[in-house]
């Protein structure tokens, strides 16, 4: 990798001050070091943010919700039994035990594209500033089936999908203050802009994620299908949250991962489920609505039936 400076930050303010134009924040480093070794990222300075206060803690918010510090590891998250089930399930599917022991909440949300054209050291694809999205006419089996821009790289953060349906917000240090972004807002830019991995601006730093206080009766579920049983990226992932009262869906949210540059959700589908009986027919109707606008490429049409199955299964899990 390219030689770099290494500095420790003690506060968000100092971290943001140290980052400069060519710096990158370093937490678990799982994604960043991979990019640096391939010369995809060549930062002049790494700002270690692992020691920022309270970022390694899982705590309760005054409103009774959860605050997950950005430096909480995925393994710690997966072991925290009082968190919503869907989030624990999503965390448990991340990488391998070794990766989960080091990778962080903030890093999982901010990780970059895993498209194999983007990660190929000798190619310069559209997302890396080139002129072509090779995946569009190439080997696109792992790519998106929804996109708003010429790049068809999907978001691969498991946590983002689970956190979307939990109505979580990322607490981001931006221009000397904390701002709160919904998951939709955190990724919105990636929908339109092929160069964007998410909506974070230069110098932005995720400090925590906040999950609203759990409501009695609300359940959540996360499922993914990969080619391997373990230690593999999702071909499609799906999370749902909401309650089932007297056999009817109430306040249900559903989102898909690995199919779009953002955690893919459709308000109309959530609305459609409201008050509908918790059964396969309702779940299938929601799936049909969500998938109606899918535009698969030459090798990834199979993601549509997987998404359909996962939408149904996660929704029906809410009654279990």
């Amino acid at each position: 990798m390219k030689a770099f400076e290494y500095v420790n930050a003690q506060t968000p303010e100092s971290a943001a001050g140290l980052i400069g134009t060519e710096g990158r924040y370093l937490a678990g480093g799982i994604d960043l070091l991979g990019e640096m070794k391939e010369y995809i990222a060549t930062p002049a300075r790494l700002v270690n943010v692992k020691n920022l206060p309270t970022t390694r803690e899982i705590s309760k918010t005054p409103e009774g919700g959860f605050r997950l510090g950005a430096n909480v590891t995925i393994a710690e998250l997966a072991a925290q039994a009082d968190l919503p089930a869907g989030l624990i399930e999503a965390a448990a599917e991340v990488g391998s035990p070794q990766i989960r022991a080091v990778a962080t909440v903030g890093g999982n949300l901010a990780q970059h594209s895993r498209c194999w054209y983007y990660r190929q050291r000798d190619l310069t694809c559209l997302k890396r500033g080139g002129s072509t999205c090779y995946a569009r006419d190439g080997e696109n089996k792992y790519n998106a089936i929804f996109t708003g821009n010429p790049c068809i790289s999907p978001v691969v953060s498991n946590l983002a999908v689970a956190l979307t349906v939990l109505s979580a917000q990322a607490v981001v240090w931006r221009k000397s203050k904390e701002v709160r972004l919904t998951m939709a807002e955190l990724y919105a830019d990636a929908w339109n802009n092929p160069l964007a991995q998410n909506s974070l601006q230069p110098g932005d730093l995720i400090l925590a994620v906040e999950i609203p206080a759990p409501v009695a009766g609300v359940r959540s579920s996360y499922l993914q299908v990969s080619e391997k049983s373990d230690f593999d990226w999702a071909l499609v992932s799906c999370a749902a949250a909401g309650s089932v009262n007297e056999g009817k869906f109430r306040g249900v949210k559903i989102a898909l991962g690995a199919v779009a540059p953002v955690p893919f959700q459709m308000e109309e589908a959530n609305a459609l489920l409201e008050g509908k009986p918790c059964n396969e027919a309702s779940a299938n109707a929601a799936a049909s609505l969500i998938l109606a606008t899918a535009t698969p490429f030459s090798h990834n049409g199979y993601k549509v039936p997987i998404a359909r199955a996962l939408i149904r299964r996660t929704l029906l899990n809410l009654a279990k």
């Binding site: 054209y117 190929q120 190619l123 310069t124 089996k141 080619e227 373990d230 698969p296 090798h299």
Partner: protein
């Protein structure tokens, strides 16, 4: 017939690996761990073009990087490049980072050429030529026995199928490489190799040194699977850099490198027709097949041991057979021998069509196999296996499991030679009773050290831990490369011979009539100061060849997501005399896992637009993980009367075929190409929206050699290095 002891204490029993504790504690030093005084790190500079004419390579800026001590080109002057990742130059320096920095400063003047990486595209008229002086598609080899067309006309049932297999990479966990120290008069190489003598001879030839002045050492190494013979380009470059710098140079390939240029299992494409009478007696077989061994394929070369040919109609006796096979050159890394070269491809096509025939005949697939298999031992293995597996209860009409998760079973057989000869060995019996066996073989991870100790212990009536086994050094008596399942059948007889002679000599000198067991030490004490040193060698009668094996697989397929879970593999395998049951079973487990990767996960993916390898890592080149591995049950037929037979290759072969047959039995539709991934399952089940394809589409256009207007390579300007 066999001279092997009839009532053994250790042969055929479980002896733990002698080096196990050293390996799990890290005390074992692998070739890649060697750090001789003053060693330099070496790295290879590779082509970023899939095809190009290189005009010049300038190393000056690379040499100027602090810490860099040497730099060489693979070849001076103008040269062609045939694939992405081809070796062009190498540097040596005091740190990995210095080498990485230097590689980025190497300047190449080159003219990119049109290229083609897909074999089906490469054989179309107008496709870019891999070689200027020969066609991409080789002349087909045609074989015909009997009267095939007439026989098909007589068949009660005829089935047709088209099958394809992917390129599989060896991906040894220890990558290819060596640490080499070239001095004025001699050379030492610590090699990660399956053949220490092939490394010695290759380096002696390159360095113009006598073979006696070159020493290759492989104390421990982390796998080869057929891809590690000779010094390789990486060894040759390390030797040249060592000669240039006067220091030891270590070049161990990176995982990225490992995916490009050190071999693979070639792809195959097979159009098969098979016919039988109504009782299931096979009558006629017709194959039109081709495959690609990368750039070492097609019209220019035959491809050697890693070539694109495969056996057909594999293990079955068919009176009327016609086969037509060709190789196709592509701009891709060359194949090398890969554990059971040719057989897994041949097995997949043939065993798939056999099951299609069984379904059409309404016949049990095991019965169909037994009926047409000329090898008696394998027929017996089917009979043992079907009982043990519960085949009669588990085999049902294809696709008949109720609900979305469907289970199925499949079966397939395999053959391999597995003979070996030519090894020499030396045993030293010391007056204090210490026994040392030396043999110039190498342990590529299969446990030959322990096998040697077991044989010696058996003869002396000692326990295996009392035998000091020294291997992996060309200063020891010579043995062959560890490939083709030859090591145990080649080495065991030489150990037997040396130790038997040693025992006789001990008995003669000591006057102890039976110096084995409790008498061994007292006999040794009578030797005075002179140890017994005895040479032995491989001879007839202690080993043979011709192994058969069968495997049964059970799978569960989620028909809504396409996910396949293999739940059980049963292996029934013959390997003659079982020397050490524990390591033999371990060999079987390893073979099955390779087969499982071939069946469901592994595939080198190349980009047709840019010619690069898209998955040069373990993230997207998917190897089976621990949770993908099912219960593997191993039944070894111990047949001491046949002598020792190797077991490495045959156990790799039938796994993918059995899994593919189990998947077809589960879902009622056949997947015609490996690996069997969720996208192909869903497509075969007609669940994928129209217009999207997963690669399980019909291959027919390729066989028809259709004309295509746009057979020209895509635009490759975008990714040229700046």
């Amino acid at each position: 017939m066999s001279e092997w002891p009839s009532d053994p204490k250790f042969l055929g029993k479980d002896t733990r690996r002698l080096e196990g504790p050293a390996k799990v504690t890290g005390a074992a030093k692998y070739s890649s761990d060697m750090q001789p005084e003053g060693w330099l790190y070496g790295m290879i500079f590779r082509s970023k073009w899939p095809a190009a004419l290189i005009k010049s390579i300038n190393l000056e800026k690379a040499r100027a990087v602090p810490g860099i001590k040497g730099a060489v080109t693979v070849r001076d002057g103008e040269r062609p490049v045939y694939f992405y990742g081809e070796e062009l130059a190498a540097v040596a320096g005091t740190s990995k980072q210095a080498c990485l920095d230097a590689l980025r400063l190497i300047e190449v003047e080159a003219t990119p050429q049109p290229f083609v990486v897909d074999p089906v595209e490469a054989m179309k008229p107008g496709a870019p030529s891999v070689f200027t002086d020969s066609p991409n598609l080789s002349e087909a080899k045609i074989k015909e026995e009997g009267k095939v067309d007439e026989a098909f006309a007589q068949c009660a049932v005829v089935v047709d199928g088209e099958f394809s297999t992917q390129v599989q990479l060896h991906h040894s966990l220890e990558t290819h490489g060596n640490t080499i120290h070239v001095r004025a008069e001699d050379c030492t190489a610590w090699a990660s190799t399956q053949g220490i003598f092939s490394v010695r001879d290759g380096l002696a030839d390159q360095l113009k040194l006598p073979q006696s002045k070159v020493r290759a050492i492989t104390e421990y190494m982390g796998g080869g699977f057929g891809s590690k013979f000779g010094p390789g380009v990486e060894g040759s470059l390390a030797a040249r850099l060592s000669r240039e710098t006067g220091l030891p140079v270590k070049i161990m390939l990176t995982r990225f490198d490992e995916s490009l240029a050190v071999g693979n299992r070639p792809s195959s494409y097979q159009k098969i027709r098979l016919g039988s009478d109504k009782e299931g007696n096979l009558l006629a077989f017709d194959l039109d097949g081709f495959g690609s061994a990368g750039f070492s394929s097609g019209g220019r070369t035959a491809g050697g041991g890693g070539g694109a040919g495969f056996p057909a109609p594999y293990i079955y006796k068919v009176p009327n057979v016609r086969t037509k096979q060709a190789g196709v050159a592509t701009n891709a890394g060359s194949s090398r021998a890969f554990r059971a070269p040719g057989h897994p491809q041949g097995s997949f096509g043939m065993e798939s069509i056999m099951d299609e025939l069984a379904v059409r005949l309404g016949m049990d697939p095991v019965d169909l196999r037994i009926k047409n298999d000329p090898f008696e031992i394998r027929r017996k293995e089917y009979a043992i296996g079907r009982e043990k597996f519960g085949w009669a209860q588990k085999y049902k009409k294809p696709g008949s499991t109720p609900g979305p998760i469907k289970t199925g079973v499949g079966v397939a057989g395999a053959t391999w030679g597995g003979g070996g000869k030519g090894t020499k060995a030396q045993v030293t019996i010391n007056p204090d009773g210490a026994v040392e066996v030396r043999c110039g073989t190498q342990d590529l991870g299969t446990g030959i050290r322990t096998v040697i100790a077991v044989v010696a212990a058996e003869i002396f009536g000692l326990t295996p831990d009392k035998i000091l086994v020294r291997i992996g050094d060309t200063d020891f008596p010579p043995s062959g490369g560890s490939g083709g399942s030859t090591t145990t059948p080649s080495v065991s007889p030489a150990i037997f011979d040396a130790c038997t002679k040693g025992l006789q000599q001990l008995q003669t000198v000591s006057g102890v009539a039976d110096a084995r067991g409790v008498n061994f030490l007292p006999a040794c004490r009578k030797l005075g100061v002179e140890p017994i040193v005895m040479q032995g060698e491989w001879r007839e009668g202690l080993s043979s060849s011709g192994a058969g094996g069968v495997q049964f697989a059970e799978v569960a397929v989620d028909t809504e997501t396409g996910f396949v879970k293999v739940t059980k593999i049963l292996v029934v395998q013959d390997c003659g005399l079982v020397v050490n049951k524990l390591t033999a079973e371990s060999q079987v487990n390893g073979g099955v896992i390779i087969g499982l990767g071939y069946a469901l996960y592994e595939q080198r993916v190349m980009d047709p637009q840019t010619g690069v390898v898209l998955n040069p890592n373990f993230e997207t080149y998917k190897l089976p993980g621990i949770s993908d591995i099912p219960d593997i049950e191993v039944i070894l037929l111990d047949m001491p009367e046949r002598g020792v037979i190797g077991i490495g290759e045959p156990v790799v072969i039938p796994t993918a075929s059995a899994v593919a047959n189990a998947v077809a039995n589960a879902i009622g539709v056949r997947i015609h190409s490996l690996p069997i991934t969720p996208d192909k399952i869903l497509e075969a089940l007609d669940r994928v929206p129209k217009g999207a394809t997963a690669g399980n589409e019909e291959l027919d256009p390729a066989f028809a050699r259709v004309e295509r207007a746009d057979g020209v390579a895509g635009d490759f300007v975008d990714f040229l290095p700046a």
